[in-house]
Symmetry: C2
Subunit: 424 residues, 2 copies
């Protein structure tokens, strides 16, 4: 594999394929159009299926918080009456495990989906495909997607299912859907990068559904006041919408012969990527490299990996690739403005192009660096950067920080690419 060859920009198959994959990403037009139960919304979903983050693995490979989260999901859904029954069910296949990405969905952290969970349905109106993401559980550090399951977690999930999701879904339908791309573009001017910071996007989304919400209050629709106050308190609410929008955007990128990255995700075992030119194949490396800031009372040795697919936002030029929009994150995840700006600039060296809609005020409204080219990662040694929440050994969120995708993923992906398409 010749590195100079890999970086060739001469016209030809790869250049054309990458141009096409980038154009599809850049033209995406994600709209949230509905909230439905996973079993009704997601094609192929069955009642005994639990989805989780990362490349698919057998039950025995899941460990730590991600294993706990799967068990919690089975209990929440009533697929097992006890922890032991859940473990036995996963072991004998009577409770099935699926990878979120294989179902058009993306999961936050452990990324647990069960059949009765409501999901945002996001249509990419320029390509016709659909992406899904389930709901944010709330600010409480103990959450199912951080490997925790107890009475409090259960109640908060039930509240989402029974109160919040029906209200938000009804409002979205009454509005005829909400266009997410202009909303995200606007949030980038308001201090968000819509991965680790969603304060503006959340409040802008609330404003979008306000007309319907006011009608619903007037009509006595149940739970509206409570839901709107819940939304008003949760600056992270929008993350699930930016993830679903990003998934619906990235899934349109699949073009034979393209070396652009179409997915980045991790499980408790390691980080993995997909290439737009290699369809659904994952290329798995070790866990990501991290640098973070822990909440008071926690130490670095507690950090554990239990999955995460929110890097779908970085895949389409948001999150770490728009960090210079969200310098307030220096407080939350550590780092200085200078480091954040330099990191963001660095991403231009490994991406195919600049987003025509998502723009960075600090860079004179230059488009965000968009669509990682695996060839450029290998040629420059610069690894894609992502803003993430950090999970603790004993479950729960213990901090936030920046991770880098490991080089091994890109090496394996390009080896497979050359096996399929020949040396570039």
């Amino acid at each position: 594999m010749s590195q100079s060859g890999l970086l060739s920009t001469a016209p030809g198959t790869v250049a054309e394929a990458n141009a096409e994959a980038f154009a599809r990403l850049d033209a995406a037009d994600p709209w949230v159009v509905d909230v439905r139960l996973a079993r009704d919304a997601i094609p192929g979903y069955t009642d005994r299926l639990v989805l989780t983050s990362g490349a698919p693995m057998p039950w025995t490979s899941y460990q730590g918080g991600q294993r706990e989260a799967l068990i919690g999901g089975a209990l929440f859904e009533g697929l097992a009456a006890s922890r032991e029954e859940a473990i036995a069910g996963f072991a004998d296949g009577s409770i099935q495990i699926g990878a979120c990405h294989d179902y058009g969905a993306v999961g936050s952290l452990a990324g647990i989906y069960t059949a009765s969970m409501p999901v945002f349905v996001v249509e990419n109106r320029s390509h016709g495909n659909v992406g899904f993401c389930n709901f944010y559980e709330g600010k409480e550090p103990r959450r199912l997607n951080y490997g925790c399951y107890d009475e409090g977690v259960h109640q908060r999930l039930e509240h989402v299912n029974n109160v919040l999701a029906p209200v938000v879904g009804e409002a979205i339908r009454r509005q005829g859907g909400v266009a997410l791309k202009p909303l995200i573009a606007r949030a980038l001017r308001m201090g968000d990068e819509v991965h680790s910071r969603n304060a503006a996007a959340s409040v802008l989304f609330n404003r979008e559904i306000l007309p319907a919400v006011l009608d619903m209050v007037g009509e006595g629709f149940p739970g509206v006041r409570d839901s709107m106050l819940h939304l008003a308190e949760n600056d992270y609410f929008f993350l699930r919408l930016s993830m679903a929008a990003a998934k619906a955007t990235a899934d349109a990128m699949v073009v034979p012969g393209s070396t652009l990255v179409s997915a980045m995700a991790f499980s408790c075992r390691g980080f993995a990527i997909k290439l737009a030119g290699l369809g659904d194949q994952w290329f798995e490396g070790p866990p990501p490299i991290h640098q973070g800031k822990l909440f008071a009372g926690h130490t670095d040795d507690e950090i554990t990996w239990m999955g995460g697919e929110s890097p779908i936002t970085e895949t389409i030029g948001l999150g770490g690739f728009a960090q210079a929009c969200a310098l307030s994150l220096q407080d939350y995840q550590g780092g200085s403005p200078e480091v954040m700006i330099e990191r963001n600039m660095e991403m231009y060296r490994i991406t195919h192009g600049e987003n025509s809609t998502y723009r960075i005020p600090l860079f004179g409204f230059r488009g965000t660096p968009t669509a990682v080219d695996a060839r450029k990662v290998l040629a420059t040694g610069i690894l894609p950067v992502m803003d993430v929440g950090l999970a603790g050994r004993d479950g729960g969120q213990i901090g936030a920080g920046v991770i880098r995708a490991p080089r091994e993923c890109f090496e394996m992906a390009m080896t497979a690419f050359e096996q399929r398409y020949g040396a570039q």
Copy 2:
């Protein structure tokens, strides 16, 4: 007047007075607690009084758009049945003119107040004083405060009086008031400088009153839906709250012997400042120096001065003094991020200190440069910078830009200061 003497930082009267004035500014705690009619809220307001921007002047000195706005105000309030009657009324004193600042109020552009207009009542809870500002008229370029008065302007003002203000006032009272300082601090992290950009602050304010609003909708309180949708569309709505908060903050600065600037404002004739150590005396210079970006179809020779007291925001370390928070303004008022950042940095050289609450993410959360010291303006030659809307010769807003206070104001102020307190 020795310039080296003026910059002395040795302990003594001026240093102590400035420290006290700055401390009061920095400790201010503005809360909007009510919306009331000017005649009821503002001490000394009489039915035939029209307030306007800038240092007080006789009727014959008002010209152009500010004169038109005064006439429009008299007509709107029904103090005259015709333009001619209004002119005669101002001329014979049967319609009185007052300066907003003399009534604890601040005016946007021409800054017209009449007795029946609703005003925000903002209490500075750490000092006990109160500031006022009336309502934003809406996005339409033709507005009374831009020197226009016609049927459309009249209807929009009536709508504010009869629908919007009663709803917003009721919501504010039900919430027990809204603390503006933390809201402004948050907006600075979300791309606002709360003078020419209020997109985040407006939506955050709407969120603050949401619980009351939802109750009011449920109870069938009139005009709530309409008002909330109006607010949702008007990103500038919060400016009047930031102005009232700034006025309530700056008015606490009055300390004998202080050379800090406690007000900056202009009329159709010129720019004027007050010093914290010289009470209510204005020091008037020529009109401000401007650099702006005009809306399509307008030219530089159309720009006219018809007043403006929104520089009260710069007086307390916001607006142009927080421009590096709001780099999106490069689109609206022109300029590049580099120029905006440099301009913001420059303000540290003419200010007394750094705000302990209002902070700039791009500068590593350094406090905004706060409280212009007239001595430093003269010693450095750096003039305070302000973000403003630009009015056109024929009325209406024709653009936005940056202005600088003229040096003459500071020279006159320091001459008066030395006459009063002796050479420094």
